[in-house]
């Protein structure tokens, strides 16, 4: 049974006014336990709204979100318990930091879960090590940290709640390449340690290709594709037509093919591309 299911989800902002806008329109999909699912779509395609529907911050206008087969809105009073099971890391999560020390800030979520001090302490240490925060940073003020470090503190704040499903809205927006790599490693590590399910929204096709198992493509509030990474990025023409793209390496492969080289075009990561190109050169082709 899928761990998380969206069943004909629809959400309309400001119904009954001229600002009325249906951001999510009749979306259905399911996510299996342990999968990393990517959600891509151009700006305004409803990604952020969808994420907020998934962890109960927004109540769907119609349709249901099923966690382990149960509607999360079955008992609206228990919705905060749902939010501990489905963690959501917002875009630019560093803006939510407020405590005096990094440690206290990471502890905010676990404290709201009413855990005991020992358990909280242990979770802080574990979350801090997953995101790669050095020990010395824990007692500093979060406002004295660098941008990348703040981001990791905020992510650790959600990870310390140890949700079964963790949802990220553009976790690497505004970070340098090294910062992105650290964040993605943290996501992989968290999944490994907790056998967690991950959902990521990102604009970077390279990142999505390298980390995701499956990808959902949104366009104007509708889910137009939901398939494995390979099958989604095969549709380069379609993706372009809805304002998206394929990873850069795939573009290179496509244009090599256009110039008459016999290369596969289902290459989505740099590592794979290197292998393919190496074997091509060894096979005697010249790439000039």
């Amino acid at each position: 049974m899928p761990i998380l299911e969206a069943d004909k989800l629809t959400y309309t902002y400001a119904p009954g006014t001229p600002f009325k806008h249906t951001a999510v329109n009749n979306i259905s999909f399911s996510v299996e336990k342990g999968e990393i699912t990517g959600i891509i779509g151009h700006t305004g395609s409803g990604k952020s709204t969808l994420l907020q529907l998934l962890n109960g911050l927004l109540k769907p206008t119609s349709g249901r979100v099923l966690l382990d087969g149960k509607d999360i809105w079955e008992e609206p009073k228990n919705i905060s318990a749902i939010r501990f099971k489905i963690g959501l890391v917002f875009q630019y999560p560093e803006y939510q930091l407020f405590e005096e020390t990094v440690k206290q800030d990471i502890a905010y979520g676990p404290k709201n879960m009413k855990l005991n001090d020992e358990e909280i302490e242990q979770r802080i240490v574990s979350a801090a090590s997953i995101v790669g925060l050095k020990d010395g940073l824990l007692d500093k003020s979060p406002f004295d940290l660098s941008g990348g470090e703040k981001r990791r503190v905020a992510i650790a704040g959600i990870m310390a709640m140890q949700p079964e499903i963790i949802v990220f809205d553009e976790p690497t927006a505004g970070l340098d390449p090294q910062g992105r790599e650290t964040v993605f490693n943290a996501i992989r590590e968290y999944r490994k340690q907790n056998n967690a399910t991950v959902i990521i929204v990102s604009h970077s096709m390279e990142d999505m290709a390298s980390i995701c198992d499956k990808i959902i493509v949104l366009n104007d509030g509708e889910a137009v594709l939901h398939d494995s990474v390979d099958n989604v990025f095969k549709n380069s023409e379609f993706l372009k037509s809805i304002g998206l793209n394929v990873p850069y390496v795939t573009k290179i492969m496509l244009s090599l093919k256009e110039r008459g080289f016999d290369v596969p075009t289902d290459v989505f990561t740099v590592d794979n591309a290197a292998k393919v190109l190496l074997s091509l050169i060894k096979g005697g082709a010249s790439l000039d």
Partner: protein
């Protein structure tokens, strides 16, 4: 919820009221407010009510929007009505027990005051619903132009600039607050439940990030304005010129006619 605050929110529609010069709207708002206070009996109030209803209809804003605003001040309306009905002792006694005495005069006054406050709210929201914040502050700046003859020219400009910025950032702040609230809710913050103290405590994780963001935004905005050579409005040229038209003349004439009716009623019936 926080997004229900509509007071001061522009509501786009194609209407005569929307197209009026903001200066006309601003002055006529003040004029009508004076009229509301001039009407001291139900006949006068009926005449003002008719004018307000006409403005509401002409503005093409759904009545629902006006009622939303009225709902927000319902406690104030009820409170004034209750106090008036309890303390005004005129006319025949309708109810008399213990220390509570309700008279016909009291009821009359209570209803009258409630209608008066409701009209004040409705007519003020007409202005904010049909005028963009920029137009509104523009109008205020123009209307205050004569102040430059007493050396307050740049003060007026700065004040209106501050108002423009404040009004401009209200929706942004609301949006920002919503985002931070959501982020903290995702970490288990419980804002809606609990006693007073726990609710106030729950505000800290929202207010601190919000203040930090606002300060940062203020710095960014100041820098962006300076980059575009903002110098406090000296010698500023306007892209959008305000012009009075025949429409404005008609609006003014109608308002004055109404005022004449109300004053005539007061003299004739008073």
């Amino acid at each position: 919820m926080i997004s229900d605050i509509t007071f001061g929110q522009y509501f786009p529609a194609e209407s005569v009221i929307h197209r009026l010069d903001p200066r006309t709207k601003f002055l006529m708002l003040i004029f009508i407010i004076v009229l509301i206070f001039l009407a001291t009996d139900f006949y006068g109030m009926a005449v003002v009510l008719a004018l307000c209803l006409a403005v509401m209809l002409l503005s093409k804003i759904p009545f629902k929007m006006y009622f939303k605003n009225l709902k927000a001040i319902l406690p104030v309306l009820l409170l004034t009505a209750i106090i008036n009905s309890l303390y005004v002792k005129e006319g025949t006694v309708l109810f008399d027990k213990w220390i509570i005495t309700i008279t016909s005069g009291g009821i009359y006054k209570a209803v009258f005051m409630a209608v008066r406050i409701a009209l004040l709210i409705i007519i003020s929201s007409t202005l904010t619903y049909t005028t963009t914040p920029n137009d509104l502050t523009d109008a205020i700046e123009r209307l205050c132009k004569p102040l430059k003859y007493i050396g307050l020219g740049s003060a007026v400009h700065m004040l209106t600039m501050m108002m423009t910025i404040a009004l401009r950032f209200i929706p942004t702040l609301i949006e920002e607050t919503q985002k931070i609230m959501n982020a903290q809710k995702a970490r288990g913050a419980d804002i809606e439940n609990g006693g007073l103290i726990s609710r106030v405590k729950a505000l800290v994780p929202i207010l601190i990030p919000l203040i930090i963001l606002s300060v940062r935004r203020a710095y960014d905005l100041a820098e962006a304005m300076e980059c575009r050579c903002y110098n406090g409005g000296v010698g500023k040229q306007r892209m959008k010129q305000l012009k009075f038209g025949s429409r404005d003349a008609v609006a003014v004439v109608i308002c004055f006619a109404w005022a004449a009716v109300i004053i005539a009623l007061r003299i004739l019936l008073g």
